[in-house]
């Protein structure tokens, strides 16, 4: 750890010097090395504010305000990015009054870890080029020799940070109702953060939101409940999440089909370096769902038999692999030879093409007439009756989707003929607190890390082509997960 320390005494009262120095964005008006500076978001005296500035030589640096005290007249900041290897650079500016005269003591110090062979060069640069040059500039400005530099003109792009591109559903309908538009992007208020999306998950629930089957979206509105990205700004009262954090989320409210959004961070999860943004956006909602379906609802045990419909889909592929890893005998249905080949490679024991075979008959045949212990049914309308037929006495049918249409009325008296259990889980009820969601996310990522679940690269669509993604999803031409890329 290298330490640089410089200090000086100025012939000016402390208050006057502090007034200049405490403006974290004001250095381009007095420091000769700084050509231009702006705060990336919010006020310059917000703790956590990031100043983005260009040196006279063109280098661009970003520094974050770590602490500021109007009582102690000091502030600390760190370097977030720089073309120079000033690793771990944390600096402190501190003023003290000189009580026997109208003077002010100013010290500027820092610690960082340079590459050893560049230590001397970097120490000289920081001490002389930044700190001592700054002392001289302020001394001259206070003496009236040099008027403070006027605020340099800002690039026009800064005025545009208040809007973002987003898919907007103007009225419920088919894929064509989704159009890319420029929408307002509010600054994060209390308890909110702003995230820049790098990958956006596409789920069947988005189709329901677009079509009006689920009322989670009120037109005009932006669909989507899942994405990964980087935190760009943090409002007051937010803890545990900072600018620059890599995160993902899979939760209401809708609005993830956008380049950026402002939202509550309560249900965001931090991403480890081994989980890519694409993987997270493609699998967080499906993985958390698979976790509560298998563990909390089905409570699968080794030796149980399970039937998984739409097994080549995003969640189907996860369920097949995870159920196998948990020791289940897996029956899997799908609609084409390509998809069945894919499912076979994931380890399913029995493959059924339900477009040409009666899956209930196949299941009963393969189980000696007994049926399976659990059915995971997401198609709904086209499969539900068969699922009731294919399940064993005291079995459990879990209906968690309606991709082919609603099931309609179900006469529960009929369930007595097999003592059946029916579950109709709602994603939000299993993932509505950080604790509940966190348990599923941890369990899912652990399964990914252990290799129990491997994830196919998702099909990628530009954000503007979200309608194509929905068309493909609804036409059942896709395998695995779909993501939108802003």
């Amino acid at each position: 750890m290298t330490r640089v320390y410089a200090s000086t005494v100025l012939d000016a009262p402390l208050d006057r010097v502090w007034q200049i120095l405490r403006d974290f964005n004001g250095h381009d008006r007095w420091h000769p090395a700084i050509a231009q500076s702006h705060i990336e978001q919010g006020a310059p005296d917000r703790i956590g504010a990031v100043r983005n500035f260009r040196l006279q030589d063109g280098a661009v640096l970003r520094e974050q305000l770590l602490s500021m005290s109007d009582m102690a007249h000091e502030f600390r900041y760190c370097l977030l990015s720089s073309p120079l290897p000033l690793m771990g650079y944390v600096a402190k500016v501190r003023l003290r009054p000189v009580t026997d005269g109208s003077q002010c003591f100013w010290e500027w110090s820092s610690k960082f870890t340079p590459p050893p062979y560049r230590e001397a060069e970097l120490v000289t640069l920081v001490r002389d080029g930044i700190y001592r040059a700054g002392f001289s500039a302020i001394r001259d400005a206070l003496a009236g020799h040099v008027p403070p530099k006027s605020r340099p003109a800002m690039p026009a792009v800064r005025a545009n940070t208040k809007t973002t591109q987003a898919i907007v559903v103007q009225a419920y309908g088919g894929p064509e109702v989704m159009q890319l538009q420029e929408v307002d992007l509010p600054d994060p208020g209390r308890g909110l953060v702003q995230i820049r999306h790098t990958a956006i998950g596409v789920n069947f629930i988005d189709v329901y939101c677009r079509s009006g089957r689920f009322l989670l979206l009120q037109p005009p509105g932006t669909p989507g409940m899942e994405a990964a990205g980087v935190i760009e700004a943090v409002g007051p009262g937010v803890s545990g999440i900072s600018v620059g954090d890599r995160v993902a989320y899979a939760c209401p409210p809708v609005g993830s089909y956008s380049a950026r959004r402002t939202m509550a961070p309560d249900l965001m999860v931090h991403l480890g370096p081994d989980i890519s943004d694409l993987t997270a956006a493609a699998s967080l909602l499906k993985g958390a769902s698979a976790s509560f379906l298998l563990h909390d609802i089905a409570k699968v045990q080794p030796g149980m038999s399970v039937l998984i419909h739409a097994a080549a889909g995003g969640i189907g592929q996860i369920l097949v692999q995870w159920a196998k890893a948990l020791g289940c005998e897996v029956f899997a249905t799908s609609s084409s030879p390509d998809k069945l080949r894919r499912i076979k490679s994931l380890g399913a024991d029995h493959l059924i093409d339900y477009t040409v075979q009666d899956f209930a008959a196949v299941v009963k045949d393969q189980t000696g007439g007994r049926g399976v212990d659990v059915v995971f049914d997401s198609p709904g309308k086209t499969t539900f009756a068969g699922s009731l037929d294919a399940v064993a006495v005291r079995g459990h049918v879990i209906s968690f989707g309606q991709a082919s249409g609603p099931i309609g009325l179900c006469d529960i008296d009929r369930l007595a003929s097999k003592s059946l259990t029916i579950s109709r889980p709602n994603y939000a009820h299993y993932t509505d607190t950080p604790e509940r969601l966190g348990a599923h996310v941890s369990r899912f990522f652990a399964a990914v890390r252990s290799g129990a679940v491997t994830l196919q690269d998702p099909a990628q669509y530009p954000l503007a082509n979200a309608a194509d993604a929905h068309r493909d999803l609804e036409a059942r031409t896709t395998m695995g997960a779909l993501v939108l890329v802003p």
């Binding site: 320390y5 200090s7 000086t8 005494v9 003290r96 009054p97 000189v98 026997d100 003591f105």
Partner: protein, 160 residues
């Protein structure tokens, strides 16, 4: 809480104790100034108001816990105990055990910081204490101006 003021010298420290803060720039390198003031028994050497001083119990003046027993030129006797001394931070803290001033829980710190641009020294002296409320203003002025500032002024004169 308020920030240290330029001339008022008094701020409120923790627990609402009166606090005296005085600072000055001494025109000499910090190491040279430190050589003088680190001697806990040297008040007669560098301050204008101490007549004589001794360290009690035959202890060394840089032994933590030693007590200096000194007599002011006006006759008052003060006993102060060394609480902390740092050749690394160039600072010294002590507690007042006895004095004619009518203060309690008096703890003071004298600290030096190098001014690298001019090879000078920034000196700070703070004291926290308890006293009768009606005497606070007078004591703050007496300690701040009459003692600390007077000592700093004398120190500056040495290096003129």
């Amino acid at each position: 809480m308020t920030a240290p003021k330029m001339t008022g010298l008094k701020t409120t420290g923790t627990n609402n104790m009166p606090r005296v803060y005085v600072s000055s720039v001494i025109p000499a390198p910090a190491a040279e100034v430190w050589r003088i003031i680190r001697d806990f028994n040297a008040l007669p050497v560098w301050t204008p108001f101490v007549a004589d001083s001794r360290i009690e119990s035959n202890m060394a003046p840089d032994q933590i816990g030693c007590i200096r027993n000194f007599r002011l030129k006006d006759g008052g006797v003060i006993r102060e105990k060394l609480l902390a001394l740092s050749d690394y931070d160039l600072s010294c803290s002590y507690a007042m055990l006895e004095s004619p001033m009518g203060v309690a829980d008096y703890i003071a710190t004298l600290a030096l910081t190098p001014v690298t641009e001019t090879n000078a020294t920034f000196a700070e002296w703070t004291a926290d204490f308890q006293c009768a409320p009606e005497r606070e203003a007078a004591l703050v002025a007496q300690i701040g101006q009459g003692v600390f500032q007077a000592a700093f002024t004398a120190l500056k004169q040495r290096f003129r």
